[in-house]
Amino acid sequence: MTTPPSADNLIEIRNLRFGRGERWIFDGVDMNFARGKITAIMGPSGTGKTTLLRLIGGQLRPESGSIALDGQNIPQLNRQELFAVRRKIGMLFQSGALFTDLSVYGNVAFPLRVHTHLPERMIQDLVLMKLHAVGLRGARDLMPSELSGGMARRAALARAIVLDPALLMYDEPFVGQDPISKGMLAQLIRLLNETLGLTSIIVSHDVKETASIADYLYIIADGKIIGQGTPAQVMSTEDARVRQFIRGLADGPVPFHYPARSYQQDLGLEPVP
């Protein structure tokens, strides 16, 4: 039975099916993303977590199912409507994706120059405010090549929030970060969510950091949701597949070995009777 829509959710996904080749990345998935909360999508690499963000952003269209953002079904929007919806969405890419030929200031100012008619003085105020929020006001004149990995991620975060989006999507924000940067970024994500009243989606396979700030977790594998709930509920689940992922075990219901014919056959040996 399909869950009825609720005003408490900014995004509601129903019966989502999306495939590549003969493989279903999502095979009849339902998900809710509550307003003002941090929802995390977790699961092993290659399970379609980033694909889900691209479906929500309208860069990909599903085979069937609905993705309603504030009541608008994303796959059915025309180009102009999609452009308007995307102004409500901020995105922090895994790579940071800063423009390498612009300073930190220029990177953060860029969306304001493209999407608003604000005078330069107000743009400067907003850029300084956002850079201060991520601790980089003093680094405004640096070029991306002069930033550490953690600083680059924070500069990209300042750019992602400069238009005050209703939804902020983070694609693997903790990848490649040292433990101090990870902790700092996790705190920042929580602070921004609470202060700006954002709805946040974090795609990650970093269990510790993500569970520490998320309000709700979805664990996906093989095109399905294999676990969901608050971090405490997911951590205490009895489901073997979820436990394998949470504990980082190499083998379990999600096998270590890709399916293959027998080892003897590969080695040109007769099976031992």
Partner: protein, 112 residues
Amino acid sequence: MTAQASLSLQGDTLIVAGVLDHESVLSLEAQGATWLADTAPATCYADLTQVSYSSSAGIALLLSWLRHAQQQHKTLRLRPLPTKLAGLVRLSGLDEVFGPLIAEAKAPPAKA
């Protein structure tokens, strides 16, 4: 879509109402600057209690008015900020700028 926002005058106080976003602040900024340059008294107030929503652009609007006021050698004080705006001020580290300018809320008119 143009957001709905408005300014009105009540003695020495500029009343700001409605939605403050990247579009609506443009005309408000110019109207407020004109008032500060022309008829605003040496100490004047901005009251934002009727603001229903504000993005960060609302803070940029206040900063712009504060600069205009200083250029005119006037003091613009702020009535208590709505919770969302106060949160944005904190997040942006602007407490030290706005803190000294926050005035007490205006008392409601006494009953006859």
